[in-house]
Symmetry: D2
Subunit: 139 residues, 4 copies
């Protein structure tokens, strides 16, 4: 099956509020990581809602192992930005994703994130097979 790239990109719109900004008048650099986490959660919910909820209910979680963030532009108070998220790769116990933040067709921030799956004991754990399959369909 051939799937168009657009189909694999999940989009989360986010409004910029005072809490997101800093004294420089722009979104504080760490807060784009908040936006990205929201967007990953929404992507999971959309890709595989019941499966992801079950994973969380089982005490498992995705934790960030590594992220790289490039800041090319800055969002401002009241901006409506979009986080575009795309799974790049899914392994047995890890996942990598590309996430970009856009405003009116301008790419402000680009991130690459590597996530690990952990169990209720906080140790690395395999991603549940059905969730992994659901994610792979969109990767």
């Amino acid at each position: 099956m051939v799937e168009a790239p657009a189909a694999a990109t999940h989009i989360t719109p986010i409004r910029v509020y005072y809490e997101d900004t800093d004294a420089a008048g722009i979104v504080y650099y760490a807060n784009y990581l908040n936006f990205a986490e929201r967007a990953r959660t929404e992507m999971m919910r959309d890709l595989a809602d019941g499966l992801y909820a079950r994973m969380l209910a089982d005490g498992m979680a995705f934790v960030v192992r590594r992220c790289t963030v490039d800041y090319a532009g800055a969002a401002k108070l009241d901006d409506l930005v979009e986080v575009h998220s795309r799974v790049l790769n899914v392994g047995g116990a890890s996942l990598s994703a590309e996430q970009t933040v856009w405003r009116d067709g301008e790419r402000l921030v680009a991130m690459e994130v590597k996530l690990g799956c952990i169990g209720s004991d906080g140790r690395p754990a395999r991603i549940p097979a059905d969730l992994r399959a659901a994610i792979e369909k969109h990767a």
Copy 2:
């Protein structure tokens, strides 16, 4: 024993960083509650370090039931403010405190906070007797 008021006031110095500010150029109003929580923790550590640590280790915690915040002035980036904390009253399962934020002798924010003690099950619980006694000595 008569204790001078000053002795009962705990002081926590806090530096204002970018993360604390917003696009209005001042500390975002919710972030004074972060400052106040840091100051309450430091006060507990100073009043009764081992006892408070044990309470946390037992899965207990203080949670805020009510707070009233008056904003008279605003702290700015790079300001060094002080949070002055004073226990007003300590009951079997609750605690009230007055906390004020100062910059160079000017009172910027005044809070009154009521805390409840909860057990590891999240339900109201009595403050451990020895911790309560240590707090009362300073109230």
Copy 3:
């Protein structure tokens, strides 16, 4: 004109993400003030979008002078809560509002907030007459 109370209440749905929670597993107490600020902004946008945007463009802003927060329950990760906002009173240079946070019909948090209007110089300023009229219609 008689207006039903429901018409005067503005509702903002908010999803709880990791960033909103703390080690106690619940939404950190200060973060409800973030939720409330988002909800006030959305209420202004809905009540009087162009007028509020103009006020901001003129360098004016609403700042919180006082807030009282009662915490009766706690939202958790992944909860979908609603902030119900209602203008109580609007004066020449100030505004008071009641804001409550609900989850599935349970009121978790109740706030009362008093806001002041400031000009581009940071000093108290009158709320623009047309914006004030638009707000009063809903108060």
Copy 4:
């Protein structure tokens, strides 16, 4: 002049409070960027206090252009961590630094940050020569 590596590393101790943690019981991944920003500010203050203050007073600022963050371990509530910061390179209008977060001799997080200098108009600007010289002495 030969300078020992230790001399070039700036250390900022940071206590972990509730606000820093999330429902997973650990410091939320974005909040290490807050810690890093605090540490960079303290490093600047220590390296060249008056010069850095003057740069800010002139409306200039350092903004993050790129950061890479590796998460190897996680800090928990009440931990006392240290941020070790070291300038790697200083150019005409940019700066790169390595920052690591430690707890009891264990390296939890490693970051590499590239900063750009901007003027009061938000556009790239040269780092003031005297500040640059002060930074270079420690790089």
